[in-house]
Amino acid sequence: MKRLRAAAEYIDGARAAEALARTFELWREPTSPWRERLARLHGGFSPRVVDAGVRLGLEHWTLEVMRELRGRELRGDHVAPGVTAVWLAGSIPTASFAALALPLLAGSAVAAHPASADGAGPALFLESLRSVDPDVGACISLDAGPEVLEQVDAVVAAGSDESVRVVRERVPPGIPFAAHPHKLSLAVIGTQIDVPGAVEALAQDICLWDGRGCLSPAWVLAVETPGRRAAHIAEKLAEALDRLASRLPCGPMTAGEHAALRDRRGAAAVREGVELHASGDANDWTVVLDPGPERPAPGGLRFVPVVPVGSVRELVEFCARLHPHLSTIGHAGLGGRAPGLLEGLEAGGGSRLCLLGRMQLPPLDWRHDGVEPLRSLLRLVDVEDEHD
């Protein structure tokens, strides 16, 4: 902890931004050795998914974006944390990259607790950052244990509700605490777009990170028309997933995950009115057109329920039942501020609307779970006028 605090004294957010920008450039390069190494070492996803997910995910993580973010959120009198504890979760490397980078932009060192499912991502990211600017790299440690929670100036915790609760209990009162519990997202396809275009983008959202992320569409809501548009969407989505399976193959699954997928497929197949599209005997992908009336369980692992909705009202009601677990609504064919989208987002407790194809590619400066990423770490200061 002393070492981190000392390291942080020699750098500031502006220098960190420059180092991070150069680091992200290294990862974006067409034949980035860093991406290649991570794709080889990660193990939780297929190498092609890691490669594409990182390349596309970092596309707009530029110096300009970081400067704008700093200018926007570090305004006014404030005290930035000297050291921020970051509890990483899950296996998605770009989420870890952002979680490590953001406190640096606020001028804070980072004591990170890596997720058990992704040791390689944070370690390689730190190695690459150190190669660009050793002083900035020295501001991150990846071996934080629970004891640091009582010694740091701010905490960012991702994980299940239970994990976040356990971390929060260790943090002294008055310490800024940003929680990112596990969430769910959904996709909506309206009528103002060609189905093939929409499903190609959607298929990428499904395949990147294999449906394991909180930004992965857990359902596809298809605005229904008399021509059975939802069924058409399900059919075309299945074709798109099949095409993408060779370019972005599914990563390893546990035996229990395979069994659970088979169970879900069988459970869907026996239901009247359900249309099932699947990758033969393999568990690569599954699309289920499920007309209800019950809301199907959320998808994941490239198992995608397509749910017809007849109206904006139904969309909002669907979202409301997810409250407060909704994260993002990806959409196409509705118009960006179409009635229902914002209302649905609000009803579900979500915080992000984006176009299909962008669900897995949040900007570095997005307000994850409605929280300003830098400002949430600060202690804001009021300096009152001295005159009476």
Binding site: G44, A89, G90, S91, I92, A95, S116, A117, A158, G159, S160, D161, S163, H180, P181, H182, K183, L184, W209, D210, G211, R212, G213, C214, S216, A218, M253, T254, A255, G256, E257, H258, A259, A260, R262, D263, R264, R265, G266, A267, A268, A269, V270, R271, E272, L276, A278, G280, D281, A282, N283, R295, A297, P298, G300, R321, L322, H323, P324, H325
Partner: protein, 359 residues
Amino acid sequence: MSRDALDRRVLAVIGRGVDAPLDEAELDALALELFAWQHEHCEAYRRLCAASGRSPDSVGHWTEIPAAPTGAFKEARLAAFPESATVRVFRTSGSTAGKRGELHLDTLELYTASLLATFGAHIVPEARPLPFVVLAPPASQAPDSSLSYMYDVAARHLGRGEPVFCVTRDGWDPAAAIEQLRGLEGPAAVVGTAFAFVHLIDALGAAGEQLRLPAGTRVMETGGFKGRSRELTRDALHAGIESALGVARERIVNQYGMCELGSQFYEDSLRRGRASEVKRVPPWVRTRVVDPATLREAASGEVGMLVHLDLANTGSVLAVQTSDAGRAVDGGFEVLGRLPGAEARGCSLAADALLGGAA
């Protein structure tokens, strides 16, 4: 062939007992005929078969018969007879998802025949009737519990005197069960759920007491703990029973069963006179251990997913896919709990959490 004729043929196989091997060709023929019958008469199962592109025309061996996963029994009535002919519905115990799997029966004849044959052979192999002490409710109070039905039927056909059911629909008092056990004057069959035995062990432990049940007593336990007691490994449970009740390990038998199946599997400890964890497969059942990723047979000794084909399921679906991990061993299979599942490898909210918190 009519359903009745199929039932008669299966009953004849069961009637030969657990020690009469069923010829592979005879099993295959019966299984394929039953599959064709079920495919024709069960619409939901027909949909499942269509999803995997299989039908009686394309299936040439019993191993190719599409297995219905247990989840399917929660979503549809998997029965090859009209609803009006239903005589009994067994249901799985509740889960966080709320839905319960159902086995619909239009006759109890096969179910009863199968359970008596296997229960008798493995729990009362001497064929000498014994008093039954049952740590589960009677069937009259739990009509949709296959376990209660099994104990009820077994006690009445294989037991001596009126069985004592220590559990009611409102719960149970381990102290009263202990009183019953203390009063035993000769060998008995003490049977019940695993979690009830844990309660019994804990109650005896709290009282600082150990029973010494009469020589010849045997214990049969089954099922998981389902949050109703502390969880123990099977080994620890049997050690606890041995210590608390004074029943030797080789006289404690675990049964593996599923609501969705018409037959059950037992360890043959009592028959062999030494503790065994191998589940014996009745001749009218086949259990395969498959790789859940490919559905291909797992290599010998490899852990995989258990898939059962049970000829006693004539009115339902004879091939059932579980989520249980197992391993084929000489003489049967071992059950190794649930297949290793989804650790936290993503940040997406688990379905159970959503259903528990927001549905």
